[in-house]
Each structure stands twice: as C-alpha cells, then as structure tokens.
C-alpha cells in the first residue's frame, strides 16, 4: 500500500474549514446564506443535544435497513433465477435492465399514490432503488461461476436447492457483495431523496425542514451527517467485508 496519507488528509480537511471560515468572515455573503463552520457545528450540537439528530438518523437507518433487506433478498433470488433459467433472463431480465435506468426518486409519485405518506412508501422507494443493482450483480456472479464447481457438486450428489445454497450462492458471493455495496449506495440516496419529498421524519425531512425555515446551517450540517454516514458504511462495513471475501475466495 506504500505511503500513509493520513496526515495529508487531515491537513486537507483542516484547510477546507479554515478557508471556509475566512470566506465567511470576509462577509461576501450574509450569514444566513453562507454560515461559518462554527455556526454549522453549533447547529449540529443543538440538534444532537435535543435528540432530533439521532432520532432522524435512527429513522432513516431503520427505513434503509428494511428497504435494503428487501432489495437484497429479492435481488438475490431474481438474479439466481435469471442466471439459471434462460427464459426468465430473456423476459424478466430485459425488464430489470429497463427498470434499473429509472432513478429511485422517479418512483416517489407512484409510492405516494400507492402507500400514502407512510414509512411503507419510503421503504418501497428505497428497496426498488436498490434491488436491480443486487439482481444484476448476482446474475453476473452466478453466470461467472467456474462450471467445474457445479459439476463437482452435482457429481457428489448435490441437487436442487442444495446446489443453490451450497454452491451457487457462495461461489457468486464476491459479485454479490459488490451488488450489496452498490445496492446500499442506491438505497442511501433513495431513502434521503424520498424523505425530502415525503417530508415525513428522517434526515431527509430535517434537510427539508431546514430549507423551509431558511436555516442554511441546519441544511449544511445535515448534509455533512449524510456524507459521513455514507462514508463510514462504505469504507468500514463494505470495504472490510469485501476484502475479507476477496481474500477468502482467493481473489486477492
């Protein structure tokens, strides 16, 4: 891996905050349009102190978890069937490619009509935004399995569902992990977007509330929270999982 860039990284972020502070002190724009980093931090501290921040995070994460769980279980099943049954691939598969090109936000009007302004609607948007990434990666993973694995397993007596759970899923797992990672990224964007439009609790709602109160500090502070959560889950959870799988499967 070579050089450790942590000091550079810290210096970079300190630099950004310093420049930000200077610009706000020079007073090019009024405070209510361009707050200082201090004001943003203060806002963050307030919302942490009164609990609204953590309640928002918990609500968003809860919706995301359910949506992603639905996307993962549905996407894996769909992907396996597409990879193993050609007629499903030719029919359902083509629809999956089409649906994948719809941004998850575009599902919001339909979700509101179907579910009303409920958790169910937001979870629907989250799940549908993530499911196709999981499906396509699972499909690719199963298609790329060394055929000798499947032959060896069948030769040793594996049949039907045994073949799926004991060979297809573990053999395709490195691809599936990439699918989960992509799915998570789509789900995260989806849940925040839906919350803004539904305006019904969660981090997206806090963003929108900040907008309607003309509170730029709150908007920026929530955006930072969204970024940090995204980064942490990406690098800590998924990167670690991916590395572990890759080395275990001998791909690294």
């Amino acid at each position: 891996m070579g050089k450790n860039f942590t000091p550079h990284r810290i210096a970079f972020y300190v630099g950004i905050i310093v420049i930000w502070q200077i610009i706000s002190m020079v007073g090019v724009w009024p405070d209510n349009i361009f707050p200082s980093p201090y004001e943003v931090a203060e806002d963050l501290a307030y919302s942490a102190a009164d609990g609204s921040l953590f309640y928002g995070i918990a609500t968003s994460m809860w919706r995301l978890s359910i949506g992603l769980a639905i996307a993962i279980s549905g996407g894996v099943v769909l992907g396996i069937f597409m990879a193993r049954v050609e007629v499903i691939n030719q029919t359902v598969g083509s629809l999956v490619l089409g649906l994948q090109s719809i941004p998850s936000i575009a599902w919001v009007p339909l979700a509101i009509l179907w579910f009303g302004l409920t958790d169910g609607g937001i979870i629907f948007v989250t799940a549908i935004g993530a499911i196709f990434a999981v499906t396509i990666n699972t499909y690719t993973g199963v298609k790329n399995i060394d055929p000798h694995y499947i032959e060896a397993a069948r030769n040793m007596g594996a049949k039907g569902s045994q073949l799926i759970t004991a060979v297809l899923i573990p053999a395709a797992f490195p691809y599936m992990i990439s699918g989960f990672k992509q799915g998570w990224a789509f789900a995260w964007r989806g849940v925040i977007g839906a919350e803004i439009l539904f305006s019904f609790l969660g981090l997206g709602f806090l963003l929108n509330a900040g907008r309607s109160l003309n509170d730029v500090s709150q908007v920026i502070s929530i955006m930072i929270v969204i970024m940090v959560i995204g980064l942490v889950i990406d690098t800590v959870v998924f990167k670690k999982l991916e590395n572990k799988v890759m080395s275990r499967w001998g791909l690294q």
Binding site: E151, N155, M156, G157, A158, A171
Partner: protein
C-alpha cells in the same frame, strides 16, 4: 467382474458451425479393481470420455454400462477428480472433503470421523482448517483426491490431476496414488498425456487415436509395484506406448 463398459461411444461437437467428431466409437471394458490409464494426443476427447462416464455429458451414440446398468446421470458412485481440483474456495479443507457427505445428509460427528480418516491418509490433517488459497497446487490435488475418496465411489475418474504439478510433487503423488489404489481397491480411470505416468500407474493403458478418436491399442501392465518413473523395466513399455502415440500426436498437429 466387469465394472464398467463403454459401448461404441460417439460424441460430436459443433465448432463454428461445422460438426466435429471427438469420439468415434469408443469401446472399453474395465474390470473391478483395474487401474486404467487413458493416453492420447491433446484434444482427442479422452477428457470428454471421462465426463461421459461420470454422467456429466451425454454421448450422441452408444452407452456406458456400469455394473450392468446404463449410465443416465451423474452419481457419487463415479467420482471425478478435476484437473484443477475444482475445490470450493469458500470452504475450509475439512469442509471441502466433507462436502459430499453433507449433501447426503450424514450427521456432523460421523462426517468428521470419515473425513479425518482420509485427511490422515492424504497427510492433510495439519491443513484441515486451512482455506484452499493457502495451499500449494500439490496440496490442493491431495484435497481433491481426499474429497473423492470420502464418497467411497466404485470408480474414481481422474482427469489429468497431476498435469500442473512440479516433477518432485508429481513423483511423490505417483507413489501415493499406487498405495491408495492398493489400500482402497478402487477401480480407477486416469487420463494423462504423460506416458511415464501411465506406465507407472496403470494396470492397463489405452491409447486414443487422434480425432475422430477410437481406442487404438490397449497394453497390459503387470510389473510389480511400487513402481517409480525411473524403473528401467518400464522403459520398454513406455517405448511401445510412444510408438503408438507418436503418429497420432503428429496427425493432431497437422
């Protein structure tokens, strides 16, 4: 007792819109306890023949008779050892070895008892908890052989299992393979392109012709064991096999 009989096996492949005949009527009789080595030029279809016996492919004509019944599908009675081992990288060595037992629904304790015996036989006990990426190519082949033996198959089908090993490891495994065969009394079909390997291992050596292939000649090989590759007594046999093989290899390159 005849364990296995190939009756006029024909197999075609379509290759870029023209039909290619790989096997053009293979006939072979294998007695229980035989160690049959199949040699032939590369691309002659000897691996395909093994896959047909395993039930992983269907012949276009002809039939494989196993214990007097036609082979219709793959079964743990005829276990294949693949050239690259085809071990599952997501399982530890021991779980790889126990895979077939698990599929058969054998309880954990009993699986461990059986697999430990074969891990010991293949000198893998130390590596039981390793993952396959941590093993050398030779070790992987030992695991693949253990995984096959655990199924207690009637017939072991080995598709160039030693092709990617270095010479020392191969010599070691050639000795061990003979011991395993003597100990387990399995019927073995062993595909190789290496004539010395065939002469050391086989009780019978079948030479495949170039495509479209038939079995050109069979040699009996009753030299005492254990044999090693440098045995001078095997040289004459090797020369005889090579004399049959050489023109076929030449044709395959034309």
């Amino acid at each position: 007792m005849t364990k296995l009989e190939a009756k006029n096996i024909v197999k075609h492949f379509s290759h870029e819109s023209h039909k290619l005949t790989a096997l053009d009527g293979i006939n072979l009789k294998v007695e229980a306890g035989d160690f049959v080595c199949l040699v032939g030029p590369s691309g002659c279809g000897k691996s395909t023949f093994l896959r047909i016996i395993a039930g992983l492919e269907k012949p276009d004509e002809g039939q494989i008779m196993f214990d007097g019944h036609p082979v219709t599908e793959t079964s743990p009675e005829r276990i294949m050892v693949f050239q690259e081992g085809a071990l599952f990288p997501w399982l530890k060595v021991q779980d790889n070895v126990e895979f077939g037992l698990k599929m058969a629904g054998i309880p954990k304790e009993e699986r461990a008892k059986i697999s430990n015996r074969y891990l010991d036989m293949m000198q893998l006990t130390k590596f039981a908890n390793s993952y396959t990426y941590q093993l050398s190519t030779g070790m992987k082949q030992r695991v693949a052989i253990a995984r096959a033996l655990v199924m207690d198959p009637d017939v072991l089908l080995m598709d160039e299992p030693f092709a990617s090993l270095d010479a020392q490891t191969r010599d070691l495994l050639l000795v061990e393979m003979q011991l395993i065969w003597e100990k387990t009394k399995k019927t073995i079909l062993f595909v190789t392109h290496n004539v010395a390997e065939a002469a050391v291992l086989g009780t019978k050596i079948a030479v495949f012709s170039n495509r479209p292939s038939i079995i050109k000649k069979e040699f009996e090989n009753n030299f005492p064991r254990p044999r090693v590759t440098e045995d001078e007594s095997l040289l004459k046999l090797q020369q005889d096999i090579l004399a049959e093989l050489r023109p076929e290899v030449k044709k395959s390159r034309e």
